[in-house]
Symmetry: C2
Subunit: 428 residues, 2 copies
C-alpha cells in the first residue's frame, strides 16, 4: 500500500478486522506486506508498525496487488507504472492521476495483462465504475450526469433549503470539514471535472483528460438565483455531464462539461441532499439509472478500495489473464462547449416600456436561437424615475455558442440595464 492517510488507515484496519470474511470471499488470504509512508516512526493506530517503510520500490516489487493512495501525479504515476510493468495489479483512488493519464495507464495494464481498478476515484463509496464498465457493457451509454462533488452539493443544498447566501454556506461547509481551507478545487468545479474526465474515458472508451472538460464553478451562484429557481420548480446543482454527441456543428464526438445548472425538482438528482453524491446514467436499452451514496470519507472510500482489492485477488486466484487490450477510440474527441446543445435561463433587468420584448426577441431570432418561455414581472422605479421590469427567458435547445452570443448582444441593448443572471438548464 502506497500512502497511509485517512483512507489508507481505514483500509489497513479493515484488512485486519475483516480478514476472515475477505479470505472466504477470495479463496486465499490477503496479506498486507508493506505500507509506504514518509515517516515510518509516526504511530498509526491499527497499522502493524513492522510493515511500515519508506522504500516504495522495494515494497512494490513482488507484490500481487499494489494499492495506491498517495494522490497527485508524481511519484504515484511512476510507481503505478512500475507495478503494472512487473505484473502487479493496481487499485487506486487517485482521481487527479487518472484524469490526466487514464488511457496511458490502462494501456500499460493491458500490456501486462493485469488489472488497474479505480472504483474509489469517482464518487467514493458508490459503485459506479463497475456498473458502467461491466453491467452496462452490453448496452450503449448515451449520457452520464453526476453530482460528484459533495462540498458543492452541500453548499448549494444549504442555499436552497436554508436560504443562505454562498459565503454563509461555504463557511458552514468549512466548519463541518466538508470544505478545505482553500476550497478552490471544489467550488471552482475542478474536482468534478477530474471525475467527468474519468467517467467519459470509461463510458466512451476514449482518451478524455481534465483539460478537455469545460469547467464552470459555483462561485457566481447567488441566493437570489437559488430563490428564483425554487419559485419556478427548479433546484441548482453542480453537474458533471458526459455525453455522446452524434451531431453538432463540429461533427460527432463527446461532450464533457461541469457547470451549475437548473434541474427540475422532480428529477431524481434533485433529491440528492447534503454532501451526498449521485450519478444518473442514460443508456439505450436500460433507460435511466441512478447510483447514490457517500462520495467521500475514509470508511466509504476504503469500502470501494477493498471491493476492488477483492475483485483483483479473486481473478488472481481463478487464474487466466487479468486483462486484454481494451477498446480505445482516440477518434472520439471532446467537442468544444460552443458546439454543444444546451438551454439557458436568462434573467434581464429591463426598462419597462413598449418595444422591449420586440427588441429582445429580435436578438434571439437573429442568432437563430429560440425562446421557450418568457415571464415579465414588474420591478422598481429607479432614481431617475424609470420603471424597471424583470424579464426571465427560458430558451429551447440551441448551440451554446448561439446562446452565449445572444446573451452578449442582449447585454448591449439600450433597454436592457443588466443581465442579472445566466444559468443552463438540464434534465428535461
Amino acid at each position: 500500500m502506497l500512502g497511509c492517510g485517512v483512507v489508507g488507515s481505514e483500509v489497513a484496519a479493515r484488512l485486519q478486522s475483516r480478514a476472515e470474511a475477505l479470505e472466504e470471499r477470495i479463496g486465499a488470504p490477503l496479506v498486507l506486506t508493506a505500507v509506504v509512508v514518509r515517516d515510518p516512526d509516526k504511530e498509526r493506530p491499527g497499522v502493524d508498525a513492522s510493515v511500515l517503510t519508506t522504500d516504495a520500490e522495494a515494497a512494490i516489487d513482488g507484490a500481487d496487488i499494489v494499492i495506491e493512495l498517495m494522490g497527485g501525479i508524481e511519484p504515484a504515476k511512476t510507481l503505478i507504472t512500475r507495478a503494472l510493468a512487473q505484473g502487479s495489479s493496481v487499485v487506486t483512488a487517485n482521481k487527479a492521476l487518472l484524469a490526466a493519464a487514464y488511457g496511458e495507464l490502462m494501456a500499460a495494464a493491458d500490456d501486462s495483462e493485469v488489472r488497474l481498478e479505480h472504483e474509489a476515484a469517482v464518487a467514493g463509496a458508490i459503485p459506479i465504475i463497475r456498473p458502467v464498465g461491466d453491467s452496462l457493457a452490453g448496452d450503449r451509454i448515451d449520457r452520464i450526469m453526476g453530482i460528484v462533488n459533495g462540498t458543492t452539493n452541500y453548499i448549494l443544498d444549504q442555499m436552497d433549503s436554508q436560504g443562505w447566501d454562498f459565503d454563509a454556506a461555504l463557511a458552514s461547509a468549512q466548519e463541518l470539514g466538508y470544505a478545505e481551507a482553500d476550497p478552490t478545487a471544489d467550488i471552482g468545479g475542478h474536482d468534478a471535472a477530474a471525475k467527468a474526465a474519468i467517467l467519459s474515458s470509461l463510458a466512451f472508451h476514449a482518451p478524455v483528460t481534465i483539460d478537455d472538460v469545460h469547467v464552470e464553478g459555483i462561485t457566481g451562484i447567488t441566493a437570489e438565483m437559488v430563490e428564483t429557481a425554487k419559485d419556478q420548480g427548479f433546484v441548482i446543482k453542480l453537474l458533471a455531464v458526459c455525453e455522446r454527441v452524434t451531431d453538432s456543428p463540429a461533427g460527432a464526438g463527446l461532450s464533457a462539461r461541469v457547470y451549475p445548472a437548473l434541474l427540475p425538482r422532480t428529477h431524481p438528482l434533485a433529491s440528492v441532499h447534503g454532501a451526498f453524491n449521485a450519478v444518473f446514467v442514460e443508456a439505450e436499452a436500460a433507460g435511466s439509472l441512478m447510483f447514490y451514496g457517500q462520495g467521500a470519507g475514509g470508511a466509504p472510500t476504503a469500502s470501494a478500495v477493498l471491493g476492488d482489492v477483492v475483485s483483483v485477488a479473486r481473478r488472481k486466484v481463478l487464474g487466466g489473464r487479468g486483462q486484454y487490450e481494451r477498446p480505445f477510440h482516440p477518434e472520439r474527441r471532446v467537442l468544444p462547449i460552443s458546439a454543444i446543445t444546451t438551454r439557458y435561463h436568462i434573467t434581464l433587468d429591463v426598462v419597462d416600456r413598449p418595444g422591449v420584448l420586440a427588441a429582445v426577441s429580435e436578438v434571439f431570432a437573429d442568432e437563430g436561437a429560440s425562446i421557450e418561455l418568457m415571464r415579465q414581472t414588474i420591478g422598481e422605479v429607479d432614481d431617475e424615475g424609470i420603471q424597471h421590469a424583470k424579464l426571465v427567458l427560458a430558451t429551447h435547445e440551441n448551440t451554446d455558442a448561439a446562446l452565449s452570443r445572444t446573451v452578449d448582444r442582449l447585454g448591449d441593448l439600450d433597454v436592457v440595464r443588466a443581465v442579472a443572471s445566466v444559468i443552463r438548464a438540464e434534465g428535461q
Copy 2:
C-alpha cells in the same frame, strides 16, 4: 438461448445490432447458435429463423454460454443444471427458480468452475447483483431495503399523488400494462418476496428461499391510510427488507420480509415514483447507497442479460477458472417475523372518555412495548350519541410478536371500537 418472448427477442436483436461493439468489448465475437422455442414456425422479427429449434438439449450441448429466459421452475432447472454440469456458463433472468434453488444452482456452477449470472432476475435493468456481490465484497452489508416491484409502486404512488383508492389505481396499472389480468403475484407481494430471497442469499451467503420470506401484500392499503401517512410526512411503499440480525429472542440470523410500510418522505426511497424500482443498501463502511432504475420491460431486462453475457464471455476469453467454491453459510437461518424488531403505526377508533389513554397505555406496558408518539383527534358522534376519537399511536422498536399481541389486545378493549389500521414503519 432458451425461450424467446419479449426479453429474448430484445436480446437477440441487440446481439445483432450491437455485434461490433460487443466483439470489441469481449475480444471475441458472440454467435447466437440456437434459440429454443415451442413453435419455431412463428415469425420472430429480428431473430434469424435458421437458429430456431425445439430441441433444448441439443441447443445446450457445446454452447459456451446458455441464456435462460423461459421462466418458471421446470424445465428451466433441469436445463440449467445440464448446462452447468457440461461446463457452460449460464445467464438467467429467472427469479422464481433462483428464489427456490439459489444455493443448489450456485453449488452446481462452483462444482463445474463456471459462472451462473442473474443480474436481470432482481430489479430489471438496475445493476444491483454485481454491486452487492462484487463492489461491496470488501465491506459488510447490514441491510437491504428495496422497492423491487414496479406494479405495486405504481399503484401506491398513484394513491399517494392522485388520491385514488386501491381499486382505481390497480385498474389504471392494468390499463397501462403494468399489472397482469391476474395481479396476485404483484399485489400479494410474492414477486417482491422472490427478489428478497435472491438478494438475501447473495448478500449474506445463505440459503434463503421464497418460503423463508414473510410476505404481506398491499391489498389492505386504503386511500385513508395513504392520506393519514401523507399528513404525517410519510409515504407508503411495498418494501423488501433483507437484514443481518445480531440479536433477537430467537438468536442471531437473518430477516427477509416483504410488507407495505411507512417511510419518511425525506428517505431516498420515498422519491421513487411510478413503476420505477430502487434498492437501498446499508453497509458497514460504505454507509447508505441507493440504486435506481427501471425494474422491468423488454429492453431494460435485455440490457442486464447482455451485461452478464459480456461478463461471462470476457472471462472465457481471459482464461482461468470461471468460479470456485463460494462462501456458503447454511447456519445463517431466516428468523421468524415474530422475533424481528419493527415499529408499528396503529390507528384506533376509540370512545372519547376519560381513562381511554390509560387503558391503551396499560396494554402496551403489559406487553413490554413502548409508545413513541400518540396523537388524538376528535371524531364523530355515533348513532347512539357517543363521541368518538381517532387515536394514532407510533411505537418504538419492539419485537413484531409483542406489537402484534398489543394490537390484538387493543382490539379487545371496551373503549376501542375498531382498530382502523396497522402498518409498520421503516427507514428511521
